[in-house]
């Protein structure tokens, strides 16, 4: 079970909840579970079958590189954050 923090502007989908538990061994499964719990969630973070280009995901403080296939260890803390690079 992962602890997922809901982005502030998506909390309308979650009835105001700022965090929730989700089940899955990969990020894809976690998002599928979030979609099941909060219909519409997946469309906000997934585009063309992959993580939306404007979004990055942090699992246990590390921004992941594996996209939807990324493994999610049990009891992970997951955040959806904007994708950024640098100069």
């Amino acid at each position: 079970m992962a602890n997922v923090f809901i982005p502030a502007l998506l909390r309308k989908l979650t009835g105001g909840k700022d965090r929730t538990s989700a089940t899955g061994a990969t990020l894809r499964e976690i998002i599928n579970d979030l979609e099941h719990q909060f219909p519409g969630f997946r469309d906000r973070v997934v585009e063309n079958g992959d993580l939306a280009g404007s979004i990055a995901v942090s699992i246990n403080g590390e921004v992941i590189t594996g996209g939807l296939s990324e493994s999610v260890p049990a009891e992970s803390e997951i955040h959806f954050v904007p994708a950024i690079a640098g100069g």
Binding site: F5, A8, L9, S54, E77, A85, G86, G87
Partner: protein, 756 residues
């Protein structure tokens, strides 16, 4: 390697940079130095209007001019779909990229490219673009970020809708996206505050100001393969962007990265490369395009101006109880302002329980913004760090002590939520507090008043993909090949990492920056990532080479590879104490020991170590003229393990100088028609060495546990604190809180007059 305990022999020393001789003797090849047989010269026609519809383009007179070989417009580009495409580490929209390269139905800013010409000389090309007739319908324009968000603002892109908005709307808008970070109970936080400060800030659009203008030479061959020589922060990134906008395979393009005269984020995007390629394809000749300084300022990628509102509260104990921040950043003509990074970096140095941060990416009739050193965070820090200074002042707490009370440490939640790993923020605060500078009295000045200010900053740093090879030469020296453009001394740092692993001197390792066909994929030089990620690849490649060397020695000694150890450049056999060879001796025997040794590695590493900095500055303010001079500046930074401390210091000094220009002088100045009026370095005033004192640096080496050598990026975070630190110093000097950048003499005078 335990970086806490390991005694390095090469890492941490200061060898002469490997590319130094070529650069100081003028032998280094920059993009504009490239010349090929039969080469044509290109020139770009640019919009004189901030916003206009293109009714028609007539290039017949230009094409009739002797010496003109081709003209291209947006009609020569393939039709592309709008959508976000992950481009390595950067989300990009191919349609908008294409529209920025050559305008389609509308021009969206002064300087927007409209057509390009190839001719037998630069002068003919210059004449030819004057003969291209463009019929414009001038449209109302908007250049102020807040005005652009209003319902009645002129709309730049009619199909644009706000992404990220909580409510979907089908109304055209200039707000490309919005985001929010929120946690805790804001209302309760402000209720618990003994002091609340609320201020609004405006910061101007500024340019990176790299000395070398953009350039590109393209040679299209009849077999469909193209070679592009260009000044770029990422050869692979440039190649992939060209392929995307021209809808051709990436493998059909080879990008040769020329030596680079500065980039700071502004040379990650492409401007000339696809135009040169199309012109070369059309003419069958190599084509060269070089921008003028005016073109660089008008039509490349400066960073966002912004409007920021900050409300922050703290209790008598000095603890921040709540922070509410609203920021709108200019994207320029197409979406993509660094407002997400602004939101994630503002107040990141502090542990704040109750917060709400809103960000808006807003189109205005200015050039499409690009990355600039810690993109978005300097604007953000100007707001948050000056308000923090004011909170500390109102509470009677030393500003550094206030920062210590609230400072982030390992486990503190960032504004976006993820928790920090081991960081060295508090160490930077302590270092400034204990610095000779902070402990010294302010100097006395005749006719001018002096003040001291401090500010802190945060930048994430990045990882991303890198590749490297390490080859052993027959004389026992080594070659290191990477795909990372060397902007800040990365040739030297990569050579030093390989030297450390191989037990060689830094001078015995020869670093090479390769083209896109000569090394594995490597993302751009940016995000303070190269010494971290490419250095990681070099470390792994050197280890790979060491393993091969051990195998070769085992072959010679007829023992198992695990019976061979490699230490300090010497291979020894553990089963026969008499057998040992230096790397040089072994290198000479490789042909009879199994063949050449080339270690290689490709990485996409995690374990990025964030960067923090705290700065102190003394300024003198002339109350008569409003001129502000920087008298003394000290920057403390958690730099991780400093591979080459001189280049780390150089990065800090360069960034502080750029930040000082941003603070005091630099701004894009547009007239009421939306035309940029200061498109040259005489009027776009950047600091020179004459404007700056020697910048003192304090390197705090908190090794990054996520890197085998403890490296964390260093190049970006030092640009974050300067404007806020200088604003805080001005306040101490003359008692006014500056809320606009730049804090140029007229603005300082006005603020002083308003106070009186």
């Amino acid at each position: 390697m335990d970086v806490q305990e390991h005694k390095f022999k090469v890492i941490g020393t200061r060898p002469i940079r490997h590319d130094g001789v070529d650069k100081v003797t003028g032998r280094a090849h920059y993009g504009a130095d490239i010349s090929l047989p039969g080469m044509l010269h290109g020139k770009v026609l640019r919009s004189p209007h901030a916003h206009a519809r293109i009714k028609s383009i007539d290039a017949s007179a230009a094409l009739a001019l002797p010496g003109v070989k081709a003209v291209i417009t947006s009609a020569d580009f393939p039709k592309l779909q709008s959508g976000v495409v992950p481009m390595g580490e950067l989300p990009m929209n191919p349609l908008y990229m294409s529209m920025n390269l050559l305008a389609q139905d509308k021009v969206l800013y002064d300087g927007h490219a409209v057509a390009a010409v190839a001719a037998t000389s630069p002068h003919i090309a210059e004449e030819a673009i004057k003969l291209i007739k463009v019929d414009y319908e001038v449209l109302p324009h908007v250049q102020d970020v807040v005005a652009a968000m209003k319902d009645d603002a002129p709309i730049l892109l009619s199909e644009l809708r706000t992404s990220g908005a909580p409510e979907k709307s089908d109304k055209p808008t200039n707000t490309a996206s919005q985001l929010r970070f929120a946690r805790g109970d804001l209302e309760a936080g402000f209720k618990a505050a003994d002091v609340i400060v609320e201020r609004e800030f405006d910061t101007a659009m500024v340019h990176q100001g790299y000395i070398e203008p953009h350039n590109a030479v393209a040679q299209y061959n009849a077999n469909g393969q193209t070679t592009i020589w260009t000044s770029t922060q990422g050869a692979f990134t440039a190649r992939d962007q060209c392929a995307l906008v021209l809808n051709i395979p990436a493998g059909s393009i080879k990008v040769v990265p020329a030596e680079i005269g500065g980039g700071f984020g502004g040379k990650i995007g492409i401007y000339l490369e696809p135009l040169a390629l199309l012109l070369s394809k059309k003419t069958g000749k190599p084509v060269k395009l070089v921008m003028s300084r005016g073109e660089v300022l008008r039509a490349t990628g400066p960073t966002s101006g912004s409007h920021i509102r900050v409300k922050m509260g703290a209790n008598k104990a000095g603890k921040i109880t709540a922070a509410q921040i609203w920021m709108a950043y200019e994207a320029g003509a197409f979406p993509g302002a660094p407002v997400g990074a602004g939101c994630m970096t503002t107040i990141a140095p502090y542990d704040v329980e109750n917060l709400q941060i809103d960000g808006f990416d807003v189109l205005v009739n200015k050039p499409k913004t690009a990355a600039y050193r810690a993109p978005g965070s300097t604007n953000a820090a100007m707001g948050s760090e000056t308000v923090i200074d004011e909170l500390a002042e109102k509470l009677g707490i030393d500003p550094l002590e206030f920062r210590r009370i609230n400072g982030a440490k390992e486990g503190t939640a960032q504004p976006a939520g993820p928790k920090f790993p081991r960081i060295g923020y508090l160490e930077t605060v302590e270092a400034i507090k204990n610095s000779p500078h902070y402990k010294s009295p302010l100097p006395k000045m005749d006719g001018r008043v002096v003040g001291r200010g401090v500010a802190s900053g945060f930048w994430f740093n990045a990882g991303f993909q890198s590749s490297a090879t390490v080859s052993i030469n027959s004389d026992g020296t080594a070659n290191v090949v990477t795909g990372s453009t060397d902007i800040g001394g990365s040739r030297a740092s990569c050579a030093m990492i390989a030297a450390e692993v191989l037990g060689l001197k830094a001078e015995e390792v020869h670093p090479v920056v390769a083209d896109t066909e000569s090394i594995g994929h490597t993302d751009m030089t940016g995000g303070s990532r190269v010494t971290f990620a490419t250095g990681y690849a070099v470390y792994d490649a050197a280890q790979d080479a060491v393993n091969m060397l051990k195998q070769r020695a085992a072959t010679l000694w007829k023992v198992k590879p695990e019976d061979v150890v490699f230490q300090d450049g010497v291979v020894s056999c553990t089963t026969n104490g008499n057998e040992s060879m230096t790397l040089k001796e072994l290198a000479a025997k490789l042909p009879r020991a199994g063949g050449p040794v080339q270690g290689k590695a490709s990485v996409n590493p995690r374990g990025v170590g964030p960067a923090f900095a705290t700065h102190v500055v003394d300024v003198a303010v002339d109350p008569e003229t409003g001129k502000v001079d920087v008298l003394r500046y000290t920057a403390a930074q958690d730099v991780g393990k400093a591979v080459h401390p001189s280049y780390v210091e150089g990065q800090i000094q360069g960034a502080v100088t750029q930040g000082t220009g941003w603070a005091l002088n630099e701004e894009y100045y547009y007239d009421d028609k939306g035309t940029l009026r200061n498109s040259g370095f005489l009027d776009y005033r950047m600091p020179t060495t004459l404007d700056m004192p020697m910048i003192e640096t304090i390197l705090i080496e908190v090794p990054n546990p996520g890197h085998p050598i403890g490296i964390r990026g260093v190049g970006e975070v030092p640009i974050v604190p300067p404007p806020a630190a200088i604003a805080n110093a001005i306040h101490q000097a003359v008692g006014v809180r500056m809320d606009t950048l730049p804090m140029s003499p007229p603005k300082v005078c006005k603020a002083i007059a308003e106070k009186q």
